[in-house]
Amino acid sequence: MKRRVCVAMLMSLPTARGLAQDAPPIPLTSDTAQYCAQLAKQITDWHSSLPEVARLLADGREMCEQGEVRSGLRRLRRALVILHRRRDPARDKTAEPAPY
Protein backbone atom coordinates (compact mmCIF):
# COMPACT_ATOMS: atom_id res chain seq x y z
CA MET A 1 0.00 0.00 0.00
CA LYS A 2 2.78 2.37 1.06
CA ARG A 3 4.71 1.49 -2.06
CA ARG A 4 1.74 2.36 -4.22
CA VAL A 5 1.40 5.72 -2.54
CA CYS A 6 5.09 6.44 -3.13
CA VAL A 7 4.86 5.39 -6.77
CA ALA A 8 1.81 7.57 -7.25
CA MET A 9 3.63 10.52 -5.67
CA LEU A 10 6.69 10.04 -7.86
CA MET A 11 4.61 9.53 -11.01
CA SER A 12 2.85 12.81 -10.38
CA LEU A 13 6.01 14.78 -9.75
CA PRO A 14 7.46 15.75 -13.12
CA THR A 15 4.54 17.48 -14.82
CA ALA A 16 1.30 19.15 -13.99
CA ARG A 17 -0.38 18.29 -17.30
CA GLY A 18 -4.09 17.59 -17.53
CA LEU A 19 -4.98 13.96 -16.98
CA ALA A 20 -7.78 12.37 -18.95
CA GLN A 21 -7.13 8.78 -17.98
CA ASP A 22 -10.54 8.27 -16.41
CA ALA A 23 -12.25 8.75 -19.76
CA PRO A 24 -12.81 5.61 -21.92
CA PRO A 25 -9.84 4.87 -24.21
CA ILE A 26 -10.11 6.21 -27.75
CA PRO A 27 -9.39 3.75 -30.57
CA LEU A 28 -6.81 4.77 -33.19
CA THR A 29 -7.70 4.07 -36.80
CA SER A 30 -4.14 3.79 -38.08
CA ASP A 31 -3.55 0.32 -36.62
CA THR A 32 -6.25 -1.66 -38.35
CA ALA A 33 -6.40 -4.21 -41.13
CA GLN A 34 -8.35 -1.70 -43.22
CA TYR A 35 -5.54 0.80 -42.90
CA CYS A 36 -3.15 -1.99 -43.90
CA ALA A 37 -5.15 -2.53 -47.07
CA GLN A 38 -5.29 1.20 -47.69
CA LEU A 39 -1.50 1.55 -47.50
CA ALA A 40 -0.95 -1.53 -49.63
CA LYS A 41 -3.19 -0.01 -52.31
CA GLN A 42 -1.23 3.24 -52.17
CA ILE A 43 2.03 1.33 -52.75
CA THR A 44 0.54 -0.71 -55.57
CA ASP A 45 -0.69 2.48 -57.28
CA TRP A 46 2.95 3.66 -57.55
CA HIS A 47 3.69 0.74 -59.93
CA SER A 48 7.21 0.63 -58.59
CA SER A 49 9.68 -1.96 -59.87
CA LEU A 50 12.01 -1.64 -56.90
CA PRO A 51 12.69 -5.11 -55.46
CA GLU A 52 12.93 -3.79 -51.90
CA VAL A 53 9.55 -2.10 -52.18
CA ALA A 54 8.04 -5.26 -53.64
CA ARG A 55 9.48 -7.35 -50.81
CA LEU A 56 8.25 -4.96 -48.12
CA LEU A 57 4.80 -4.84 -49.76
CA ALA A 58 4.55 -8.60 -49.89
CA ASP A 59 5.80 -9.05 -46.31
CA GLY A 60 3.49 -6.32 -45.03
CA ARG A 61 0.43 -7.74 -46.71
CA GLU A 62 1.16 -11.22 -45.45
CA MET A 63 1.65 -10.06 -41.88
CA CYS A 64 -1.53 -7.99 -41.92
CA GLU A 65 -3.45 -10.99 -43.24
CA GLN A 66 -1.98 -13.12 -40.45
CA GLY A 67 -3.14 -10.62 -37.84
CA GLU A 68 0.27 -9.05 -37.18
CA VAL A 69 -1.11 -5.66 -38.15
CA ARG A 70 1.51 -3.41 -36.51
CA SER A 71 4.45 -5.36 -37.96
CA GLY A 72 2.79 -5.42 -41.34
CA LEU A 73 2.12 -1.68 -41.18
CA ARG A 74 5.76 -0.99 -40.29
CA ARG A 75 6.92 -2.72 -43.50
CA LEU A 76 4.33 -1.00 -45.66
CA ARG A 77 5.29 2.38 -44.19
CA ARG A 78 8.96 1.71 -44.90
CA ALA A 79 8.04 0.95 -48.51
CA LEU A 80 6.15 4.24 -48.76
CA VAL A 81 9.08 6.19 -47.29
CA ILE A 82 11.39 4.63 -49.89
CA LEU A 83 9.01 5.53 -52.71
CA HIS A 84 8.57 9.10 -51.55
CA ARG A 85 12.31 9.65 -51.16
CA ARG A 86 13.01 8.13 -54.54
CA ARG A 87 10.50 10.45 -56.16
CA ASP A 88 11.75 13.49 -54.27
CA PRO A 89 15.36 13.00 -53.05
CA ALA A 90 15.48 16.54 -51.62
CA ARG A 91 12.47 15.79 -49.44
CA ASP A 92 13.10 17.15 -46.01
CA LYS A 93 13.05 14.83 -43.02
CA THR A 94 10.70 17.32 -41.37
CA ALA A 95 8.02 16.04 -43.71
CA GLU A 96 7.92 12.98 -41.45
CA PRO A 97 6.67 13.09 -37.88
CA ALA A 98 9.35 14.43 -35.56
CA PRO A 99 10.92 11.67 -33.49
CA TYR A 100 11.49 12.01 -29.76
Binding site: M11, L13, A20, Q21, T32, R70, P97, Y100
Partner: protein, 473 residues
Protein backbone atom coordinates in the same frame (compact mmCIF):
# COMPACT_ATOMS: atom_id res chain seq x y z
CA UNK B 1 12.04 17.54 22.95
CA UNK B 2 14.63 14.77 22.87
CA UNK B 3 16.50 14.73 26.18
CA UNK B 4 19.41 12.65 24.93
CA UNK B 5 22.10 14.70 23.16
CA UNK B 6 23.46 11.62 21.41
CA UNK B 7 20.00 10.84 20.05
CA UNK B 8 19.60 14.45 18.91
CA UNK B 9 22.89 14.25 17.02
CA UNK B 10 21.89 10.92 15.51
CA UNK B 11 18.48 12.24 14.41
CA UNK B 12 20.08 15.38 13.01
CA UNK B 13 22.63 13.34 11.08
CA UNK B 14 20.00 10.91 9.78
CA UNK B 15 17.68 13.77 8.83
CA UNK B 16 20.35 15.71 6.96
CA UNK B 17 21.57 12.60 5.18
CA UNK B 18 18.04 11.58 4.16
CA UNK B 19 17.13 15.12 3.05
CA UNK B 20 20.24 15.53 0.91
CA UNK B 21 19.78 12.07 -0.60
CA UNK B 22 16.13 12.78 -1.35
CA UNK B 23 17.16 16.01 -3.06
CA UNK B 24 19.62 14.00 -5.15
CA UNK B 25 16.95 11.45 -6.07
CA UNK B 26 14.53 14.20 -7.11
CA UNK B 27 17.22 15.82 -9.22
CA UNK B 28 17.94 12.46 -10.86
CA UNK B 29 14.24 12.06 -11.57
CA UNK B 30 14.04 15.53 -13.08
CA UNK B 31 17.11 14.85 -15.21
CA UNK B 32 15.77 11.54 -16.61
CA UNK B 33 11.99 11.22 -16.63
CA UNK B 34 11.67 14.98 -16.84
CA UNK B 35 13.92 15.11 -19.91
CA UNK B 36 11.81 12.44 -21.61
CA UNK B 37 8.67 14.46 -20.96
CA UNK B 38 10.24 17.59 -22.34
CA UNK B 39 11.47 15.73 -25.45
CA UNK B 40 7.96 14.47 -26.21
CA UNK B 41 6.54 17.96 -25.80
CA UNK B 42 9.22 19.40 -28.07
CA UNK B 43 8.49 16.79 -30.76
CA UNK B 44 4.75 17.55 -30.63
CA UNK B 45 5.37 21.29 -30.88
CA UNK B 46 7.76 20.88 -33.84
CA UNK B 47 5.25 18.66 -35.60
CA UNK B 48 2.39 21.08 -34.99
CA UNK B 49 4.46 24.01 -36.23
CA UNK B 50 5.09 22.22 -39.54
CA UNK B 51 1.41 21.36 -39.92
CA UNK B 52 0.30 24.93 -39.21
CA UNK B 53 2.71 26.14 -41.91
CA UNK B 54 1.09 23.73 -44.35
CA UNK B 55 -2.31 25.12 -43.34
CA UNK B 56 -1.07 28.62 -44.05
CA UNK B 57 0.25 27.56 -47.46
CA UNK B 58 -2.61 25.45 -48.74
CA UNK B 59 -5.49 25.57 -46.32
CA UNK B 60 -7.53 22.51 -45.25
CA UNK B 61 -6.72 20.30 -48.31
CA UNK B 62 -2.95 20.76 -47.82
CA UNK B 63 -3.21 20.04 -44.11
CA UNK B 64 -5.35 16.92 -44.67
CA UNK B 65 -2.87 15.62 -47.24
CA UNK B 66 0.08 16.24 -44.95
CA UNK B 67 -1.61 14.48 -42.02
CA UNK B 68 -2.36 11.47 -44.25
CA UNK B 69 1.20 11.39 -45.53
CA UNK B 70 2.59 11.59 -42.03
CA UNK B 71 0.45 8.76 -40.80
CA UNK B 72 1.37 6.70 -43.84
CA UNK B 73 5.09 7.23 -43.26
CA UNK B 74 5.07 6.95 -39.47
CA UNK B 75 7.35 3.91 -39.31
CA UNK B 76 7.65 4.22 -35.50
CA UNK B 77 3.82 3.94 -35.33
CA UNK B 78 3.56 6.49 -32.54
CA UNK B 79 2.05 9.59 -34.19
CA UNK B 80 -1.45 10.79 -33.32
CA UNK B 81 -3.28 13.45 -35.34
CA UNK B 82 -6.79 14.69 -35.63
CA UNK B 83 -8.23 17.64 -37.51
CA UNK B 84 -11.84 18.55 -36.74
CA UNK B 85 -14.06 21.22 -38.24
CA UNK B 86 -16.14 23.86 -36.48
CA UNK B 87 -18.90 21.31 -35.85
CA UNK B 88 -16.47 18.87 -34.24
CA UNK B 89 -16.52 16.43 -37.17
CA UNK B 90 -13.38 14.53 -37.99
CA UNK B 91 -11.72 15.83 -41.15
CA UNK B 92 -8.44 13.89 -40.99
CA UNK B 93 -6.29 11.91 -38.55
CA UNK B 94 -6.14 8.58 -36.83
CA UNK B 95 -8.32 9.23 -33.76
CA UNK B 96 -11.80 7.82 -33.95
CA UNK B 97 -13.29 10.83 -32.16
CA UNK B 98 -12.21 14.04 -30.53
CA UNK B 99 -11.35 13.29 -26.88
CA UNK B 100 -13.90 14.95 -24.59
CA UNK B 101 -11.23 15.77 -22.03
CA UNK B 102 -9.22 17.91 -24.46
CA UNK B 103 -10.87 21.29 -24.28
CA UNK B 104 -8.15 23.87 -24.02
CA UNK B 105 -5.57 24.82 -26.61
CA UNK B 106 -1.95 24.91 -25.53
CA UNK B 107 -2.43 22.44 -22.69
CA UNK B 108 -0.84 18.99 -22.72
CA UNK B 109 -3.14 16.05 -21.94
CA UNK B 110 -2.49 12.40 -21.25
CA UNK B 111 -5.05 10.09 -22.82
CA UNK B 112 -5.69 6.40 -22.88
CA UNK B 113 -5.88 5.10 -26.45
CA UNK B 114 -6.38 1.71 -28.07
CA UNK B 115 -3.84 0.81 -30.69
CA UNK B 116 -4.30 -2.49 -32.55
CA UNK B 117 -6.44 -3.79 -29.71
CA UNK B 118 -3.94 -2.92 -26.98
CA UNK B 119 -4.31 -0.08 -24.55
CA UNK B 120 -1.63 2.54 -24.52
CA UNK B 121 -1.00 6.02 -23.21
CA UNK B 122 -0.71 9.11 -25.39
CA UNK B 123 0.27 12.69 -24.81
CA UNK B 124 -1.60 15.23 -26.94
CA UNK B 125 -1.97 18.95 -27.40
CA UNK B 126 -4.69 20.99 -29.06
CA UNK B 127 -4.02 23.83 -31.50
CA UNK B 128 -6.81 26.15 -32.62
CA UNK B 129 -6.95 27.06 -36.32
CA UNK B 130 -8.92 29.77 -38.12
CA UNK B 131 -12.50 28.94 -39.08
CA UNK B 132 -13.20 26.94 -35.96
CA UNK B 133 -10.89 24.10 -37.01
CA UNK B 134 -9.01 22.33 -34.26
CA UNK B 135 -5.84 20.32 -34.68
CA UNK B 136 -4.76 17.63 -32.23
CA UNK B 137 -1.14 16.46 -32.33
CA UNK B 138 0.19 13.78 -30.03
CA UNK B 139 2.56 10.90 -29.44
CA UNK B 140 2.20 7.43 -28.08
CA UNK B 141 4.24 7.47 -24.89
CA UNK B 142 3.92 3.89 -23.72
CA UNK B 143 7.69 3.42 -24.05
CA UNK B 144 8.27 6.44 -21.88
CA UNK B 145 5.79 5.18 -19.32
CA UNK B 146 7.61 1.86 -19.14
CA UNK B 147 10.89 3.64 -18.67
CA UNK B 148 9.36 5.86 -16.03
CA UNK B 149 8.07 2.84 -14.16
CA UNK B 150 11.54 1.34 -14.27
CA UNK B 151 13.04 4.56 -12.99
CA UNK B 152 10.41 4.77 -10.28
CA UNK B 153 11.23 1.31 -9.05
CA UNK B 154 14.93 2.09 -9.07
CA UNK B 155 14.45 5.36 -7.22
CA UNK B 156 12.09 3.73 -4.74
CA UNK B 157 14.73 1.15 -3.90
CA UNK B 158 17.28 3.97 -3.71
CA UNK B 159 15.08 5.77 -1.18
CA UNK B 160 14.83 2.61 0.91
CA UNK B 161 18.59 2.15 0.68
CA UNK B 162 19.18 5.76 1.66
CA UNK B 163 16.82 5.38 4.62
CA UNK B 164 18.73 2.30 5.71
CA UNK B 165 22.08 4.03 5.34
CA UNK B 166 20.81 7.11 7.18
CA UNK B 167 19.63 4.91 10.03
CA UNK B 168 22.91 3.01 10.17
CA UNK B 169 24.89 6.25 10.02
CA UNK B 170 22.79 7.77 12.78
CA UNK B 171 23.36 4.68 14.89
CA UNK B 172 27.14 4.91 14.37
CA UNK B 173 27.14 8.65 15.15
CA UNK B 174 25.19 8.03 18.32
CA UNK B 175 27.52 5.27 19.46
CA UNK B 176 30.60 7.37 18.70
CA UNK B 177 29.18 10.33 20.58
CA UNK B 178 28.17 8.24 23.58
CA UNK B 179 31.55 6.51 23.69
CA UNK B 180 33.39 9.83 23.68
CA UNK B 181 31.12 11.38 26.30
CA UNK B 182 31.31 8.23 28.43
CA UNK B 183 35.11 8.42 28.37
CA UNK B 184 35.13 12.06 29.46
CA UNK B 185 32.40 11.44 32.00
CA UNK B 186 34.28 8.51 33.57
CA UNK B 187 37.45 10.61 33.82
CA UNK B 188 35.55 13.53 35.36
CA UNK B 189 33.86 11.24 37.88
CA UNK B 190 37.20 9.74 38.92
CA UNK B 191 38.64 13.23 39.40
CA UNK B 192 35.57 14.35 41.32
CA UNK B 193 36.18 11.33 43.54
CA UNK B 194 39.60 12.73 44.48
CA UNK B 195 41.86 10.82 42.10
CA UNK B 196 43.62 13.34 39.85
CA UNK B 197 45.60 10.77 37.88
CA UNK B 198 43.06 9.50 35.24
CA UNK B 199 43.22 11.04 31.78
CA UNK B 200 40.88 10.93 28.79
CA UNK B 201 42.05 8.20 26.43
CA UNK B 202 42.92 9.25 22.88
CA UNK B 203 42.19 7.14 19.83
CA UNK B 204 45.43 8.17 18.13
CA UNK B 205 43.64 9.28 14.98
CA UNK B 206 44.37 12.93 15.66
CA UNK B 207 40.76 13.92 14.98
CA UNK B 208 38.56 16.48 16.78
CA UNK B 209 37.84 14.06 19.62
CA UNK B 210 41.55 13.48 20.09
CA UNK B 211 42.16 17.22 20.15
CA UNK B 212 39.39 17.70 22.68
CA UNK B 213 40.82 14.88 24.81
CA UNK B 214 44.23 16.54 24.59
CA UNK B 215 42.76 19.87 25.72
CA UNK B 216 40.99 18.22 28.63
CA UNK B 217 44.15 16.35 29.60
CA UNK B 218 46.20 19.55 29.42
CA UNK B 219 43.63 21.22 31.65
CA UNK B 220 43.84 18.31 34.10
CA UNK B 221 47.64 18.47 34.10
CA UNK B 222 47.42 22.13 34.90
CA UNK B 223 44.92 21.54 37.69
CA UNK B 224 47.13 18.78 39.08
CA UNK B 225 50.14 21.09 39.03
CA UNK B 226 48.18 23.83 40.75
CA UNK B 227 46.91 21.40 43.36
CA UNK B 228 50.45 20.19 43.88
CA UNK B 229 51.59 23.79 44.25
CA UNK B 230 48.85 24.51 46.79
CA UNK B 231 49.87 21.41 48.71
CA UNK B 232 53.52 22.40 48.66
CA UNK B 233 52.73 25.94 49.77
CA UNK B 234 50.55 24.64 52.59
CA UNK B 235 53.33 22.33 53.72
CA UNK B 236 55.87 25.12 53.41
CA UNK B 237 53.70 27.52 55.44
CA UNK B 238 53.24 24.91 58.15
CA UNK B 239 56.94 24.10 58.18
CA UNK B 240 58.39 27.62 57.91
CA UNK B 241 56.04 29.21 60.41
CA UNK B 242 56.22 26.50 62.99
CA UNK B 243 59.83 27.36 63.82
CA UNK B 244 59.36 31.07 64.76
CA UNK B 245 56.09 30.34 66.56
CA UNK B 246 57.64 27.49 68.53
CA UNK B 247 60.61 29.70 69.27
CA UNK B 248 58.39 32.54 70.55
CA UNK B 249 56.42 30.08 72.66
CA UNK B 250 59.62 28.66 74.15
CA UNK B 251 60.92 32.14 74.95
CA UNK B 252 57.69 33.11 76.68
CA UNK B 253 57.54 29.83 78.61
CA UNK B 254 61.16 30.14 79.63
CA UNK B 255 60.66 33.75 80.72
CA UNK B 256 57.54 32.84 82.68
CA UNK B 257 59.40 30.15 84.58
CA UNK B 258 62.90 31.57 84.89
CA UNK B 259 62.82 35.37 84.47
CA UNK B 260 64.52 36.88 87.51
CA UNK B 261 63.34 40.43 86.96
CA UNK B 262 60.79 42.48 85.09
CA UNK B 263 63.47 43.64 82.68
CA UNK B 264 64.33 40.04 81.73
CA UNK B 265 60.63 39.28 81.31
CA UNK B 266 60.12 42.36 79.13
CA UNK B 267 63.15 41.45 76.99
CA UNK B 268 61.78 37.93 76.45
CA UNK B 269 58.38 39.29 75.44
CA UNK B 270 60.00 41.74 72.99
CA UNK B 271 61.96 38.91 71.34
CA UNK B 272 58.79 36.85 71.06
CA UNK B 273 56.99 39.81 69.52
CA UNK B 274 59.85 40.16 67.01
CA UNK B 275 59.48 36.47 66.09
CA UNK B 276 55.73 36.88 65.64
CA UNK B 277 56.31 40.02 63.54
CA UNK B 278 58.38 37.83 61.24
CA UNK B 279 55.45 35.42 60.94
CA UNK B 280 53.10 38.32 60.17
CA UNK B 281 55.44 39.64 57.49
CA UNK B 282 55.44 36.23 55.77
CA UNK B 283 51.65 36.25 55.68
CA UNK B 284 51.66 39.80 54.35
CA UNK B 285 54.07 38.78 51.60
CA UNK B 286 51.87 35.81 50.70
CA UNK B 287 48.77 37.98 50.58
CA UNK B 288 50.61 40.52 48.44
CA UNK B 289 51.69 37.87 45.94
CA UNK B 290 48.11 36.53 45.79
CA UNK B 291 46.83 40.04 45.22
CA UNK B 292 49.31 40.64 42.42
CA UNK B 293 48.50 37.30 40.77
CA UNK B 294 44.79 38.10 40.88
CA UNK B 295 45.55 41.08 38.59
CA UNK B 296 43.45 43.46 40.64
CA UNK B 297 46.22 46.06 40.68
CA UNK B 298 46.27 46.30 36.89
CA UNK B 299 43.47 48.87 37.10
CA UNK B 300 45.85 51.16 39.00
CA UNK B 301 48.54 51.12 36.29
CA UNK B 302 50.03 54.51 35.54
CA UNK B 303 52.90 55.80 33.46
CA UNK B 304 56.18 55.11 35.23
CA UNK B 305 59.67 56.30 34.31
CA UNK B 306 62.03 53.52 35.34
CA UNK B 307 65.18 55.61 34.77
CA UNK B 308 64.94 57.71 37.95
CA UNK B 309 63.31 54.82 39.85
CA UNK B 310 66.23 52.48 39.22
CA UNK B 311 68.73 55.26 39.96
CA UNK B 312 67.10 55.85 43.37
CA UNK B 313 67.17 52.12 44.12
CA UNK B 314 70.83 51.94 43.12
CA UNK B 315 71.62 54.79 45.45
CA UNK B 316 69.76 53.18 48.36
CA UNK B 317 71.14 49.66 47.86
CA UNK B 318 74.56 51.01 46.90
CA UNK B 319 74.99 52.08 50.53
CA UNK B 320 74.09 48.60 51.79
CA UNK B 321 76.43 47.06 49.27
CA UNK B 322 79.30 49.28 50.36
CA UNK B 323 78.70 48.23 53.96
CA UNK B 324 79.34 44.65 52.88
CA UNK B 325 82.34 45.56 50.75
CA UNK B 326 80.48 45.26 47.46
CA UNK B 327 80.32 47.56 44.48
CA UNK B 328 77.00 48.27 42.79
CA UNK B 329 77.32 49.45 39.18
CA UNK B 330 74.37 51.17 37.50
CA UNK B 331 73.84 51.26 33.75
CA UNK B 332 70.40 52.70 33.06
CA UNK B 333 69.16 55.24 30.45
CA UNK B 334 67.77 58.49 31.77
CA UNK B 335 64.27 57.69 30.61
CA UNK B 336 62.51 54.34 30.38
CA UNK B 337 58.76 54.73 30.33
CA UNK B 338 56.13 52.04 30.73
CA UNK B 339 52.57 51.66 31.93
CA UNK B 340 52.66 49.76 35.22
CA UNK B 341 52.62 49.72 39.01
CA UNK B 342 55.51 51.83 40.29
CA UNK B 343 55.45 50.42 43.81
CA UNK B 344 55.44 46.79 42.70
CA UNK B 345 58.23 47.25 40.16
CA UNK B 346 60.28 49.01 42.85
CA UNK B 347 59.59 46.09 45.23
CA UNK B 348 60.56 43.51 42.58
CA UNK B 349 63.88 45.19 41.69
CA UNK B 350 64.59 45.73 45.40
CA UNK B 351 64.10 41.99 45.98
CA UNK B 352 66.56 41.17 43.20
CA UNK B 353 69.14 43.63 44.58
CA UNK B 354 68.60 42.33 48.10
CA UNK B 355 69.28 38.77 46.94
CA UNK B 356 72.37 39.88 45.02
CA UNK B 357 73.82 41.68 48.06
CA UNK B 358 72.93 38.77 50.37
CA UNK B 359 74.64 36.12 48.26
CA UNK B 360 77.64 38.02 46.83
CA UNK B 361 81.02 37.42 48.49
CA UNK B 362 82.82 40.47 49.92
CA UNK B 363 84.63 42.47 47.27
CA UNK B 364 82.22 41.32 44.57
CA UNK B 365 80.52 43.42 41.96
CA UNK B 366 76.80 43.79 41.41
CA UNK B 367 75.41 45.15 38.16
CA UNK B 368 72.02 46.83 37.70
CA UNK B 369 71.17 47.65 34.10
CA UNK B 370 68.07 48.32 32.03
CA UNK B 371 67.39 48.52 28.30
CA UNK B 372 64.44 48.94 26.02
CA UNK B 373 63.85 46.13 23.49
CA UNK B 374 60.93 47.01 21.28
CA UNK B 375 57.78 46.87 23.35
CA UNK B 376 59.63 45.39 26.33
CA UNK B 377 61.91 46.72 29.03
CA UNK B 378 64.69 44.46 30.25
CA UNK B 379 66.03 44.96 33.78
CA UNK B 380 69.10 42.90 34.70
CA UNK B 381 70.67 42.29 38.08
CA UNK B 382 73.97 40.43 37.89
CA UNK B 383 75.96 39.26 40.89
CA UNK B 384 79.04 37.16 41.62
CA UNK B 385 77.37 34.90 44.17
CA UNK B 386 76.97 31.11 44.00
CA UNK B 387 74.09 31.37 41.49
CA UNK B 388 71.27 28.86 41.26
CA UNK B 389 71.89 25.33 39.95
CA UNK B 390 70.15 24.71 36.63
CA UNK B 391 68.00 21.98 38.15
CA UNK B 392 66.56 24.43 40.71
CA UNK B 393 65.91 27.35 38.39
CA UNK B 394 62.47 26.24 37.26
CA UNK B 395 61.30 26.10 40.89
CA UNK B 396 63.31 29.06 42.17
CA UNK B 397 60.33 31.40 41.84
CA UNK B 398 57.96 29.03 43.67
CA UNK B 399 56.72 30.21 47.03
CA UNK B 400 58.99 29.17 49.93
CA UNK B 401 61.52 27.56 47.62
CA UNK B 402 65.02 27.80 49.07
CA UNK B 403 68.03 26.33 47.37
CA UNK B 404 70.69 24.35 49.22
CA UNK B 405 73.07 27.31 49.27
CA UNK B 406 70.37 29.64 50.63
CA UNK B 407 69.43 27.54 53.64
CA UNK B 408 71.99 29.28 55.85
CA UNK B 409 70.94 32.74 54.72
CA UNK B 410 68.00 34.57 56.34
CA UNK B 411 64.91 34.81 54.16
CA UNK B 412 61.41 33.50 53.65
CA UNK B 413 61.70 32.12 50.13
CA UNK B 414 59.06 34.51 48.84
CA UNK B 415 61.26 37.18 47.22
CA UNK B 416 61.55 35.65 43.74
CA UNK B 417 57.90 34.53 43.89
CA UNK B 418 56.92 38.18 44.24
CA UNK B 419 59.25 39.21 41.39
CA UNK B 420 57.70 36.52 39.21
CA UNK B 421 54.17 37.71 40.08
CA UNK B 422 55.09 41.32 39.24
CA UNK B 423 56.56 40.20 35.91
CA UNK B 424 53.38 38.28 35.04
CA UNK B 425 51.23 41.25 36.03
CA UNK B 426 53.14 43.34 33.48
CA UNK B 427 52.92 40.65 30.75
CA UNK B 428 56.57 39.96 31.26
CA UNK B 429 58.75 37.18 32.64
CA UNK B 430 61.57 36.42 35.05
CA UNK B 431 64.59 34.64 33.63
CA UNK B 432 67.35 33.24 35.83
CA UNK B 433 70.63 32.34 34.20
CA UNK B 434 74.35 32.14 34.81
CA UNK B 435 75.94 35.58 34.87
CA UNK B 436 78.47 34.35 32.32
CA UNK B 437 77.19 31.15 30.66
CA UNK B 438 80.68 29.98 29.63
CA UNK B 439 82.08 30.06 33.19
CA UNK B 440 81.04 27.66 35.96
CA UNK B 441 79.25 29.10 39.03
CA UNK B 442 80.26 32.65 38.39
CA UNK B 443 77.11 34.32 39.68
CA UNK B 444 73.47 34.80 38.83
CA UNK B 445 71.88 36.89 36.11
CA UNK B 446 68.28 37.74 36.97
CA UNK B 447 66.44 39.28 34.03
CA UNK B 448 63.08 40.91 34.61
CA UNK B 449 61.21 41.80 31.40
CA UNK B 450 58.16 44.02 31.47
CA UNK B 451 55.77 44.96 28.71
CA UNK B 452 55.64 48.68 28.14
CA UNK B 453 51.87 48.78 27.60
CA UNK B 454 50.19 50.88 24.89
CA UNK B 455 52.36 52.37 22.14
CA UNK B 456 51.80 55.90 23.45
CA UNK B 457 54.04 55.17 26.44
CA UNK B 458 56.51 52.90 24.66
CA UNK B 459 60.16 53.89 24.58
CA UNK B 460 62.10 54.15 21.32
CA UNK B 461 61.95 50.67 19.82
CA UNK B 462 65.28 48.88 19.51
CA UNK B 463 64.77 45.21 18.69
CA UNK B 464 62.20 42.92 20.16
CA UNK B 465 63.79 39.91 21.82
CA UNK B 466 62.04 36.76 22.92
CA UNK B 467 62.55 36.28 26.64
CA UNK B 468 61.90 32.83 28.05
CA UNK B 469 59.53 32.88 30.94
CA UNK B 470 59.56 30.90 34.10
CA UNK B 471 56.26 29.14 34.59
CA UNK B 472 54.30 30.75 37.39
CA UNK B 473 54.04 28.65 40.51
Amino acid sequence: MIRSASLRFAVLYGGLFAASSLALVLFFWWATAGVLDRQVEAAIDADAQFLVERWSEGGVPALVLTVQERLAENVDDDAIYMLSDALGRRVAGNMQRWPAAVVQAGEFYELRVVRAGAQSLAEVRQYDLPGGFRLLVGRDVRGRVELRRLLTNTLLWSVLLVAGLAGAGAFVVRRLFRRMVAEISATAEAIAGGDLTPRVRRSGRGDEFDRMAESINTMLERIARLMDGVRQVSNAIAHDLRTPITRARARLEDAAEHAGSEAELRAAVERAVADLDGVTSVFQALLRIAEIEAGARRSAFAEVDLGPLLADLAELYGAFAEDRGLHLALEVPDTLRLLGDRELIQQAVANLLDNAIKFSPPGGRIGLSATAEGRRLRIEVVDEGPGIPEADRARAADRFFRGEQARSTPGSGLGLALVQAVAMLHDGALLLDDAAPDAASSGLRAVLTLHTGPASVAPASVQAAAVPAIAPP
